[in-house]
C-alpha cells in the first residue's frame, strides 16, 4: 500500500511541473501583458500610460526579462510557498488566498475557507438528493420513477448554471426578497450568537450552493443507479433475497454498500466541474471565495494571482484523482497490481 502511494506521489512530480509550464506558457502566449491594456484601450490621453512608465512597470515586476527567467523565478516562488507577490494587493499570493480577509473571521474569512464552505454545502446537497434518487431508480429500472427522474435530471444537467443563478436571484432575491444573494454574511454578523451565525451563513450559501449542486445531480444519480444495478445482478444479492430479506434491506445493506466503491471515482469526476463552477457562481453571488478572487484578479490583471489560482485549480484536480486512486486501492488491493 505505502509503496504504491509513494510511487503515485513521485509520478505526480513531473506532471505537476508540466502543469506549471503549461499554465505559464499559455498565459505568456496570450497577446498582451498586465500593462498593455492600460496603454492601449484607454480612452483619450488621460488613461494612456506613457512609454517610460510602461517600461518602468515592466521592469518593476520583472516582465522585461526573457520568459525562462520569469518562469524560473515563478517556479522558485511556488517552491518557497509564497506563490509570488500579488500585483494588486502587494502581499504574497499565499496570504491572499489562504489568509484571513480584511474583515478577519478565522478560516472561514479566508477565500479558501469560504470556497470550501460553499462547495461542502453543494456536495452535501448533491449527495443528499442524488443518492436516494439513484437508489429509488435502481429499485425498478425502466419504471415510472426511473424514467421520470432521468428525464428531469437530464434537463437539469443541460441548464447553464449562471442562468439558473440569475433566475434564482431574480425570484428569491429580487422579487420575493426571501434570501440574501450578495456576499457571505449579513451586516450585523459579528453581534450574532453562534447558532444565528450558522443560520446566517447557511441562508447566504443556499442559493449559490444550489447552483453548484444541481448540475451534478444527474451525474451522481445515474452513477449511483448504474453502480447499484451492477451489484444487484451479483450472486450474493440473490442469496440475500433467497434468505428472505426484503428488497429494501438488500438494496441498502448489501447493494449500496458494495456500490460505494465504484462511486469513489465520482469524487474525482466532480471536482473539475466544481472548480470551474465556483468561478462564475461565486462572482455572481459576491461570495468572497477563491472564484470571486480569481475574477477580481482577472479584471485587475493580477498575473501572479491568476497563475497561482490556475495552478491551484489543476493541483486540486490532480490531488483529488490521487486521493480517489489511493482510497480505491486501500479498499480494493487488486488495483495496485497495475503499473
Amino acid at each position: 500500500m505505502w509503496a504504491y502511494a509513494a510511487r503515485r506521489i513521485l509520478l505526480m512530480v513531473p506532471t505537476f511541473v508540466l502543469i506549471t509550464a503549461v499554465v505559464f506558457l499559455a498565459v505568456k502566449a496570450a497577446p498582451g501583458n498586465p500593462f498593455s491594456a492600460a496603454r492601449s484601450t484607454g480612452e483619450g490621453a488621460v488613461r494612456q500610460m506613457n512609454p517610460a512608465d510602461y517600461e518602468a512597470m515592466l521592469a518593476r515586476y520583472g516582465l522585461d526579462r526573457p520568459w525562462y527567467v520569469q518562469y524560473g523565478k515563478w517556479l522558485g516562488s511556488l517552491l518557497s510557498g509564497s506563490l509570488g507577490e500579488s500585483f494588486s494587493e502587494r502581499r504574497p499570493v499565499s496570504q491572499v488566498l489562504f489568509g484571513a480577509g480584511p474583515s478577519g473571521g478565522g478560516f472561514l474569512g479566508s477565500p479558501l475557507g469560504a470556497t470550501l464552505c460553499l462547495n461542502g454545502l453543494a456536495l452535501l446537497l448533491m449527495a443528499g438528493l442524488a443518492v436516494p434518487i439513484g437508489l429509488r431508480s435502481a429499485l425498478r429500472p425502466g419504471g415510472f420513477f426511473d424514467r421520470f427522474a432521468s428525464a428531469v435530471l437530464y434537463v437539469l444537467y443541460s441548464l447553464p448554471n449562471f442562468w439558473i443563478a440569475i433566475l434564482l436571484i431574480l425570484l428569491f432575491g429580487v422579487t420575493w426578497d426571501l434570501l440574501p444573494f450578495m456576499g457571505m454574511r449579513s451586516d450585523g454578523y459579528d453581534s450574532l450568537g453562534p447558532a444565528e451565525r450558522a443560520l446566517d451563513l447557511f441562508r447566504h450559501a443556499l442559493l449559490p450552493a444550489i447552483c453548484l449542486a444541481y448540475g451534478g445531480l444527474a451525474f451522481v444519480a445515474r452513477f449511483t443507479r448504474g453502480a447499484v444495478l451492477e451489484v444487484l445482478s451479483r450472486d450474493f444479492v440473490r442469496v440475500a433475497r433467497a434468505k428472505g430479506l426484503s428488497v429494501r434491506q438488500v438494496l441498502l445493506r448489501h447493494a449500496f454498500r458494495n456500490a460505494l466503491l465504484p462511486m469513489l471515482t465520482l469524487g474525482g469526476l466532480l471536482v473539475p466541474a466544481l472548480v470551474s463552477g465556483s468561478v462564475i457562481i461565486e462572482s455572481l453571488f459576491a461570495w468572497p471565495g477563491l472564484g470571486q478572487l480569481y475574477m477580481k484578479a482577472v479584471f485587475t490583471r493580477d498575473y501572479p494571482l491568476i497563475l497561482a489560482e490556475s495552478v491551484l485549480g489543476a493541483a486540486v484536480v490532480l490531488f483529488s484523482t490521487l486521493a480517489v486512486d489511493l482510497a480505491y486501492s486501500a479498499a480494493d488491493p487488486r488495483v495496485r497490481q497495475e503499473p
Binding site: I19, V22, P31, Y154, Y157, S158, L159, S283, V298, A315
Partner: protein, 356 residues
C-alpha cells in the same frame, strides 16, 4: 462547468434505454438546423434595413447587402446611407418618409447595434415592436439574440472542428504508434491537460488577453486549443482497440502503408464515438463561450452574443428579460446538442456494440 457537458449523462449508466424518445432527437436536430439558418440569415430577419424598398423611384434590396457573399464587396446604397445617419428612419413613428414608396421591413425591424434613448430599459411586450424588450442603451434584445446565434453556432462548430483535428491527430499518433511516442508525448500531454478543468483553463487564457484581441476567432482558437485532450483520449483508445483488428492486419498483409491504414481503414471505423463526442463537445463549447462572454472576457460588446446580453442583468437586476431570454437560448442550444449526441450514440454505436 463545461466539464459536465462533455461525455453526457449516459456515461454513468451505460445500459441506459432511450429515455426521451424519437421526438426529442428530431427536435434537437431541428433546433440545430434552425441555429445554422439563423446564423446565416440573421441580416434578413433582424435589421433596420428594409428587405425591399422603393426609394426615390428606384427599388433597393438593402438588407440583402448584409448577407454573407454580398457583404464582402457590395457598397452601401442610398437607403443604407440614409439609415446610417438616422437608424430609426423607417420605423420611427411619424418620421419624415418622403420618397419612400413600397416598403418591406424584416420581421424584427431593428439592427443589433441600433441604440435609442427612447427605448432604454424598455420591458418586453408581445405586441410591441420590441417583443423581448431592450437593453440599457435601447438595443432590441430579440435582434441581438438573433444575431448572437452566429457566435454560438460558429463557436460550437469551429472550435470542435479544431479540437477534433488536434485530438484525433494526436490520439491517432499515440494509439497507432504506441511505444515511447505514446507514453512520453501523447499520453503525458493528455494526462497533464486533463488536470485543468477545461473551462477554468479557457478562462485563464482569455482573461490575460488584451481585450482588443478578444473576438469570435480568438475565442474559437482558445476553446479549440483547450478542448482537444478529451478527444485525444477517445481517439487514442479507439486506435489502440482497432490497431490489432483483423481487417487492419489484412490491409497490412496486402501491403498498405501506415498512412493508408490510419486514414482509410482505422479512422472510418473509429469515427462513430468521435462524432458522438464532438456533439457533446459542441454543447460544452457553446456553454464555455456563453460563460466567457457573460463574465466579460469573451465576445466584446457591442458585438451581440447570448452570454454578453445576459451579463447586463447583473448590472440592472430589474431588467429580468435581459437574463431570461438569452439564458433560454443557451439552454436550448446546450440541450439540443446534448440530445443530438445521445441520439447519435444510439445510432452509431448500437449495432456493433463496439465501444460503450
Amino acid at each position: 462547468m463545461t466539464g459536465r457537458a462533455r461525455g453526457g449523462v449516459g456515461d454513468a449508466g451505460r445500459r441506459s434505454r432511450r429515455p426521451h424518445g424519437r421526438w426529442g432527437a428530431a427536435g434537437a436536430a431541428v433546433f440545430v438546423a434552425a441555429m445554422a439558418a439563423l446564423s446565416y440569415l440573421a441580416p434578413l430577419l433582424a435589421n433596420n434595413k428594409p428587405l425591399v424598398i422603393r426609394y426615390q423611384g428606384r427599388l433597393h434590396f438593402t438588407a440583402f447587402r448584409d448577407l454573407a457573399p454580398f457583404s464582402l464587396w457590395v457598397k452601401p446604397d442610398a437607403v443604407s446611407l440614409r439609415l446610417q445617419a438616422d437608424p430609426d428612419w423607417l420605423t420611427g413613428a411619424g418620421g419624415e418618409q418622403a420618397g419612400v414608396g413600397f416598403l418591406l421591413l424584416p420581421p424584427v425591424p431593428f439592427s443589433p447595434y441600433q441604440t435609442s434613448l427612447d427605448r432604454v430599459h424598455l420591458p418586453p411586450r408581445p405586441f410591441s415592436p420590441n417583443r423581448l424588450g431592450c437593453d440599457d442603451v435601447g438595443r432590441d434584445v430579440l435582434a441581438r439574440l438573433i444575431h448572437g446565434t452566429k457566435v454560438s453556432f460558429l463557436v460550437g462548430v469551429l472550435s470542435m472542428g479544431l479540437a477534433l483535428a488536434l485530438g484525433v491527430g494526436l490520439g491517432a499518433l499515440g494509439g497507432y504508434a504506441g511505444g515511447w511516442v505514446d507514453s512520453i508525448l501523447v499520453s503525458r500531454a493528455v494526462e497533464v491537460m486533463l488536470c485543468f478543468p477545461t473551462f477554468f483553463f479557457i478562462l485563464t487564457v482569455t482573461a490575460v488577453m488584451d481585450p482588443k484581441y478578444l473576438n469570435l476567432w480568438s475565442v474559437v482558437l482558445v476553446i479549440g486549443l483547450s478542448s482537444w485532450p478529451s478527444v485525444a483520449r477517445y481517439a487514442r483508445a479507439e486506435f489502440i482497440r482497432l490497431r490489432g483488428a483483423e481487417f487492419v492486419e489484412g490491409a497490412r498483409a496486402l501491403g498498405a502503408g501506415h498512412g493508408r491504414i490510419v486514414f482509410r481503414h482505422i479512422l472510418p471505423n473509429a469515427a462513430g464515438p468521435l462524432i458522438v463526442n464532438a456533439a457533446f463537445g459542441m454543447a460544452g463549447a457553446i456553454l464555455a463561450e456563453a460563460a466567457l462572454s457573460f463574465l466579460g472576457v469573451g465576445i466584446q460588446p457591442p458585438e451581440p452574443s447570448w452570454g454578453g446580453i445576459m451579463s447586463l442583468v447583473t448590472r440592472y437586476w430589474s431588467d429580468w428579460w435581459l437574463g431570461l431570454f438569452p439564458g433560454a437560448a443557451i439552454f436550448g442550444a446546450v440541450l439540443a446538442y446534448n440530445r443530438l449526441g445521445e441520439a447519435l450514440r444510439e445510432i452509431l454505436e448500437a449495432p456493433g456494440g463496439s465501444s460503450g
